[in-house]
């Protein structure tokens, strides 16, 4: 049996099983994230939220999924059919393949690649294509507005995300996500790099098109932006992609700043709890903040969004990067170069 798993066919089967082992929990988590979001928003607004389907409304996500499946997929006659259908698949596919490198525990990532953090950055920067293609292929003005807004927004916020990542990387000395987490054994990076943690989280909100930066959707001004022509499963794929991206962004925050699977202190009651549970707990905390922000802040105006990205976050993260590098070199704390 063990010999079988070293043949190329065995490796293929193992990889598929590993992929399923991470995708299935992520999709289940996504399903319940939609429920959690509605429940938390309801609590913020002093309502009850969905509570009819199943105990405490726990079967609501499945009811929603069945509803989406039963509806008719409408393709507008003026739309570019191929691209119109490609866009939601692309959005959802990109949101899922990024999970290939996320280490849930020490060495548990499916692909333990040298440039894991660059891979995540590359995948998250591709997310904009689903939205642009959807907006263009729909052949509708509102969808096109949403796509243009989204393109400008994502390009602006990626720049500051890139600088935040570089700051973390010069503290780690490696591009491997496993090494990034192991470098936080003494102290999580959210303590020494606290301003960068905040910038990363806010940029993450913008990168995932979440409130208060959900201008690409902007249902009160451009109806639903890039998704306005989408229905049934094509809409559901955008929806799934958005929530999977939220979980992914929370996982990235957890790995880069909150110590991944590491307990806060390496002492008795904390290190009894296994690493993956810490990892999931931290992701859930980040997701709660995502929803909390949505329930609290009004939407940014477009020029304010661009100002925040280019005139506030970019100079600040650049200065903080130079400062961090200076401190590391001056104090001789630069990590060992492999």
């Amino acid at each position: 049996m063990a010999a079988f798993f070293h043949t190329s066919f065995g490796i293929l089967i193992l990889t598929v099983l590993q992929a399923l082992a991470i995708i299935v929990p992520v999709l289940l988590g996504m399903a319940y994230l939609t429920l959690a979001e509605r429940k938390v928003l309801a609590a913020i607004q002093l309502r009850k939220g969905p509570n009819m389907v199943g105990p405490f409304g726990l079967f609501q996500p499945f009811a929603d999924a069945i509803k989406m499946l039963m509806k008719e997929t409408i393709i507008p006659s003026g739309a570019n059919r191929v691209l119109f259908l490609l866009a939601p698949m692309l959005t959802f596919g990109l949101a899922v393949i990024a999970w290939a490198v996320i280490p849930v525990n020490d060495g548990w990532g499916i692909a333990d690649i040298n440039v894991g953090i660059l891979y995540l950055f590359a995948i998250s920067s591709l997310g904009v294509y689903g939205i642009i293609i959807a907006g263009w292929a729909s052949n509708s003005k509102y969808a096109f507005f949403g796509a243009l807004r989204s393109a400008a927004q994502m390009v602006s916020y990626e720049v500051s995300i890139g600088f935040v990542m570089v700051t973390v990387l010069i503290c780690v000395g490696s591009l491997n996500l496993n090494d990034v987490v192991l470098a936080q054994r003494t102290v999580w990076f959210c303590v020494p790099l606290f301003p960068m943690f905040i910038i990363f989280f806010i940029s993450g909100l913008a990168e995932t098109n979440r409130s208060p930066f959900d201008l690409a959707e902007g249902e009160s001004e451009i109806v639903a932006g890039f998704m306005v022509e989408y229905s049934a499963m094509t809409f559901a794929l955008f929806f799934l992609g958005e929530y999977t991206n939220m979980i992914l962004m929370s996982a990235m925050t957890t790995i880069l700043f909150l110590g991944g699977w590491l307990p806060p202190f390496d002492i008795a009651p904390f290190n009894w709890i296994p690493g993956p549970l810490w990892f999931v707990a931290k992701i859930m905390f980040c997701l709660f903040v995502f929803i909390w922000v949505r329930g609290t802040f009004p939407r940014f105006r477009y020029d304010q969004l661009m100002r925040l990205g280019w005139k506030v976050f970019l100079p600040f993260s650049l200065i903080w990067l130079v400062l961090t590098a200076g401190v590391l070199v001056f104090m001789g704390w630069l990590p060992h170069v492999v």
Partner: protein
């Protein structure tokens, strides 16, 4: 075996999509094929073991440059008929330029020889236990740091030039100055007061609306009566 197969698949898709970039009728399709070509080039880098270059190619070209391409091309209103008309006219010039390039390439390639040392390096590249990210970093930021920095300065000059050429402030745009908004003092913009009931603010000198005096209001047409009544109530109910 699998690596060779993957190489030929990626290379074939790369060349095919590159051909589609120039032959697609719709410019948006051209940009999308360009993105596909970038992806396959990145995959070829991965196969060659240059994972850093592959990721940087995706991040820079696909994630940023091509987004801006797509952004511009989607908003352009290209006149295809005019483009096709130009095709015939520029064909001889284009063919000539292509022919010259082809001959030059042939000359360069026919005279190309590897030094014996270079050939040995080709088959045993560099120090094996250093990742190519670290090797690139060492080359760019240690050995050739001044060249790298001057290249960056050239780009900076170009960027500033582009901004200067396009930035036109006519001075009549209404800008939001957040610092001024935050610095606004409540004492300058509003007055808190306790009013006795049925007194109002008239005696304190606050009038609303200030334009119409009570004498003029009496000369107004009949149908506005209920509005006057409402104004009177707003002024403190003096009847």
């Amino acid at each position: 075996m699998i690596a060779a197969l993957a190489f030929y698949v990626f290379a074939a898709i790369l060349i095919g999509s590159a051909a589609m970039v120039v032959s697609a009728r719709n410019p948006v399709h051209s940009v999308l094929f360009l993105i596909l070509a970038f992806f396959n080039a990145a995959a070829l880098f991965l196969l060659a073991g240059a994972e850093f270059l592959a990721m940087i190619l995706v991040i820079v070209y696909v994630g940023a440059v091509a987004v801006l391409f797509l952004f511009v091309v989607m908003m352009l209103d290209v006149d295809f008929a005019a483009l096709r008309g130009g095709f015939q006219r520029y064909l001889p010039v284009g063919l000539m330029v292509g022919l010259v390039l082809l001959i030059e390439l042939g000359l360069v390639l026919s005279g190309w020889k590897f030094l014996p040392e270079a050939a040995s390096i080709r088959f045993a590249p560099g120090v094996s236990n250093v990742s190519n990210t670290a090797q690139l970093g060492r080359l760019i930021y240690t050995d050739y740091v001044f060249l790298f920095q001057s290249a960056g300065l050239v780009l900076l000059v170009a960027m500033i030039g582009a901004i200067v050429l396009t930035l036109r402030d006519k001075g009549d745009s209404r800008r939001q100055v957040i610092a001024r908004q935050i610095a606004r003092d409540p004492n300058h913009t509003m007055v808190m007061m306790n009013l006795a009931s049925h007194v109002g603010t008239k005696d304190l000198g606050y009038l609303r609306p200030t334009e119409t005096e009570p004498e003029e209001a009496g000369d107004m047409p009949e149908q506005d009566h209920h509005e006057h009544a409402a104004q009177d109530v707003a002024r403190g109910g003096h009847h």
